[in-house]
């Protein structure tokens, strides 16, 4: 066994009292590829941010090549020979491959401030050749396929002489052929003695590539060992392996037979295929899927934010072309988007303006010039703020920007409650909010169903879905791969459905 090149010892990190990492210890042997797996929120990203100098650990140490390693800035990590290859690529699409690779350290002509273009091209060509990428160094990145861009990132990493390379979901945007090519290169890099950490939800790929596997759950290392001892089943059961806590409020209502939303054969090339679903009155229907499974896109299509090529949507029995969100809202739909800062809130507007935004027309005279009834609107907003226990200063003066994440999310939900929706679509409604606020959101979901609303709940936290939903649909690669009634909820089978098409070689 090779000596360890990088070691984590007792690394812990908390955010606002919530443990993100708890006493994490493992080591990366030199020249090995270590697969790091875990559910969303298990702590993988936090750990990588600590390694990359973006965050500092609360306690614990890291050892790099037998020396203490405590990066304070991302530049420290680069200097120490650690490079990250992210899911979203960090390339300038308007520049050439060579420019991208040498952007922060162009070779100069002697000591002059002028770039040595010939040298830049020559070194880039050499790097590209080592990755058997037959592209001219001056090709614009804009023209490259996703797989080629991924390789340019790797070339950039190699050009810095990095000894440790981290891959975070590198294959999400790649075709099968591109993925295999990437894997060939990863294997070649390993032969050259590079050490790598590979993070992916694609368990089959991890199993195929890794020498060692580490499983994180709730910020703790729950399993670690040589990859040959692992199977997909063992990986999945280790990733979840926890009983659903009794943290979900008891439902007071049962789903009715009435259908509020019906989707038939919805397709959009490359995004979703043949989606069929039915949402009943007073039902919570969960949608589970990995990132990139098409779950968010599906929600956006239902709400009229994105187009689809084929399929029919019926709202309350009436056919609905859902051309625009305005139409959808008129039909009683509401949509809590996954990114509340960009699409949920007017950050620089007051709580009053935010909560009132959707319902403005309902609080105005019906005809031109549509004068607002300020007092009624203010009263309705105040009732929402109070009933949801939104912690805010005076609503007419406090800006959404100055609220905590949980309260911001409650403002977003509150603005939709104002419109008394019959169908509420929620995309990751508890992402990035603290535990207390999470449970309040769960309570709101229950209240809404008690009033007869149908809720489509998208989440990557399986426990949340199992705790709240009457039914869970599972999506993988744009298709529905599982449909589970509450009686048949089982983490492993749901995860299996979510990983469908992700396992094994392609």
């Amino acid at each position: 066994m090779a000596d360890s090149i990088l070691q984590f010892e007792g690394v812990s990190k908390s955010f606002f009292g919530v443990r993100a990492l708890d006493d994490v210890s493992f080591s990366l042997p030199g020249g090995h590829l270590l697969g790091l797996i875990g559910e969303n929120g298990a702590g993988k990203t936090t750990l990588m941010n600590i390694l990359g100098g973006v965050l500092t650990a609360d306690s614990g140490t890291m050892t790099l090549r037998a020396g203490k390693y405590a990066p304070r800035r991302p530049a420290d990590a680069t200097e120490a020979g650690i490079t990250f290859i992210h899911q979203e690529l960090n390339l300038f699409t308007n520049l050439s491959i060579a420019d991208n690779i040498f952007i922060d350290r162009f070779p100069r002509l002697g000591r002059s401030p002028f770039i040595d273009r010939r040298q830049t091209r020559r070194q880039t060509a050499k790097l590209l050749e080592s990755l058997s990428l037959s592209l001219a160094p001056q090709t614009l990145v804009d023209r490259l396929a996703p797989g080629e861009r991924q390789l340019v990132e790797i070339a950039k990493a190699l050009s810095t002489g990095a000894g440790i390379i981290l891959f975070d979901e590198p294959t999400t945007s790649l075709t099968a052929a591109e993925t295999q090519r990437l894997f060939d290169i990863i294997r070649r890099l390993r032969e050259q003695g590079k050490s790598m950490i590979y993070i992916s939800h694609n368990l089959g790929n991890v199993l195929e590539l890794a020498d060692d596997i580490v499983v994180l759950r709730d910020g703790r290392v729950v399993d670690a060992g040589p990859a040959r001892d692992f199977t997909i089943d063992r990986m999945i059961s280790r990733m979840v392996g926890r009983a659903v806590d009794q943290v979900f409020p008891t439902r007071r209502s049962r789903p009715s037979e009435d259908i509020v939303l019906e989707v038939k054969a919805l397709s959009q090339a490359g995004i979703v295929r043949d989606i069929n679903l039915v949402l009943h009155k007073a039902e919570v229907l969960g949608v589970f899927g990995l990132m990139g499974s098409g779950r968010t896109e599906l929600a956006r299509m239902l709400f009229g934010l994105e187009p689809f090529e084929q399929g029919r949507i019926r709202v309350n029995g009436a056919p609905c072309d859902c051309i625009s969100p305005t139409d959808s809202i008129r039909r009683g739909m509401a949509f809590v988007t996954e990114n509340r800062r960009e699409e949920g809130l007017l950050m620089d507007a007051t709580v009053l303006d935010n909560v009132g935004l959707v319902s403005l027309p309902a609080f105005a005279s019906p005809r031109f010039p549509r004068l607002l009834r300020h007092r009624q609107l203010g009263g309705a907003v105040a009732r929402i703020v109070e009933s949801m226990r939104i912690k805010s200063g005076p609503v007419a003066r406090t800006l959404a920007r100055n609220l905590s994440g949980g309260n911001q999310q409650k403002v977003v939900i509150g603005k939709w409650l104002m419109s008394r929706p019959a169908i509420l679509i929620m995309d990751e409604p508890t992402r990035g909010i603290d535990v207390g606020a999470k449970y309040e959101v769960y309570g709101i979901v229950n209240d809404l169903t008690a009033r007869g609303a149908g809720i489509l709940l998208i989440s990557s936290e399986l426990e949340e879905l199992m705790g709240l939903c009457d039914r869970i649909l599972v999506m993988s690669k744009g298709e529905i791969t599982g449909d589970f009634d509450r009686a048949r909820f089982a983490q492993e089978s749901i995860l299996h459905a979510a990983f469908e098409g992700h396992q094994g070689r392609r």
Partner: protein, 358 residues
């Protein structure tokens, strides 16, 4: 160390300063201080004649700034307002003029169609003035609508769209008249520029009505709230069911309408349709808006702010024109004041953000 009273007094002054700077009426205070300061050196500034001059300069400019404010709140900008003024000035005059010099106008593309030595076909009729004004307002609104459609539907940058329409329509105004001013407008029209209801000038009354309507629209209607929402975040507005495209189109149309109102007032005062009307006004409009505190980043604006901005700007211009300065000094000073106002806007936003966070 300071004496025991020192820091206390200093914090009081500091707090007072902060409150003044953060106050909604800051620009009004500034204008008053400025006016009083000028009065000490140039008592003439408070003479009846000069005050009338200041007033008559303020109202048409305020009409323009009100229009610009709709677009600024949306996070856009309308550079074409001045050429809308020129175009509508010329078109309105063509409807109303009673006499044209054939030597000057035979080359106009409209000679023989709309124009003759006896002026417009309507000349002398009762309809000439109302139709002329209606045509001005209609054309202004239409040009604004065109800008709005280009920005909202085709998602072109507002700066580009309105820059192009500034060039195009100012060119069109010059082409229509072959660069000649159209004079001999009926008295019924020119009175708008000089007369009034008793001592109250018409231009004041017209712009007052416009300002009140703007205030009601922005503060008390659904559309007004939508303007602010779109200016703060288009994406959030779309998701929340705001018809963003329609709101943007309406904003630019209103800007065009207000520019036409300004054109009605200016043309009446100058007693002619001028293809070069408003050529140097763009800086004044944007400057007054920025000085008033209407943010170029969108989402902020009030009628009162527009009024204060215009007041300060007109006072400044007035003072500068009375000082005997070399011709280049005026734009230099104006530019610097606008720059300071923009800086103040940024500082204020930062201070306010901190205030609420505390």
């Amino acid at each position: 160390m300071d004496s025991s009273g020192g820091p206390g007094a200093r914090t009081v002054i500091r707090r007072l300063l902060r409150r003044t700077v953060l106050s909604e009426n800051f620009v009004l205070y500034l204008s008053l201080v400025f006016f009083i300061g000028l009065y000490v050196f140039m008592p003439y500034i408070a003479s009846e004649r000069n005050l009338a001059n200041i007033s008559s300069n303020m109202w048409p400019l305020l009409a323009l700034v009100l229009g610009q404010m709709f677009v600024l709140i949306l996070g856009g900008i309308d550079l074409s307002q001045t050429s809308i003024m020129a175009l509508t000035s010329v078109i309105g005059a063509m409807f109303m003029t009673t006499q044209l010099d054939p030597d000057l106008f035979t080359k106009s593309p409209l000679w023989g169609l709309l124009l003759s030595a006896d002026g417009s076909p309507l000349s002398g009729t009762l309809l000439a003035v109302p139709l002329g004004i209606a045509a001005m307002l209609l054309v202004g609104t239409l040009v604004g609508l065109l800008n709005g459609v280009a920005v909202a539907k085709f998602r072109m940058p507002a700066f580009m769209v309105t820059l192009v329409s500034m060039m195009f329509f100012s060119g069109l105004a010059i082409y229509l008249t072959k660069s000649e001013n159209i004079m001999y407008l009926p008295e019924g029209y020119t009175r708008i520029g000089s007369g009034g209801l008793g001592p109250v000038p018409w231009s004041f009354l017209v712009v007052l009505a416009l300002a009140v309507a703007t205030h009601i629209l922005l503060r008390h209607t659904v559309l007004g709230q939508w303007f602010f929402a779109v200016g703060r975040s288009v994406r959030t507005s779309v998701v929340s069911g705001v018809p963003t495209e329609r709101v943007i189109v309406i904003g630019y149309a209103l800007s065009g309408f207000c520019a036409a109102v300004a054109s009605v007032l200016y043309s009446a005062r100058l007693e002619g349709g001028r293809p070069t009307l408003g050529q140097n006004l763009l800086l004044d409009v944007i400057g007054a808006a920025v000085i008033g505190g209407i943010s170029l980043f969108g989402g902020k604006g009030k009628v009162l702010w527009a009024l204060f901005g215009v007041l300060f700007f007109v006072l400044l211009s007035n003072a500068l024109s009375m000082l005997i300065l070399p011709f280049y000094a005026e734009p230099v000073v104006k530019g610097m004041v606008i720059l300071l106002a923009a800086l103040l806007d940024v500082t204020r936003t930062r201070l306010l953000a901190r205030e609420v966070a505390l």
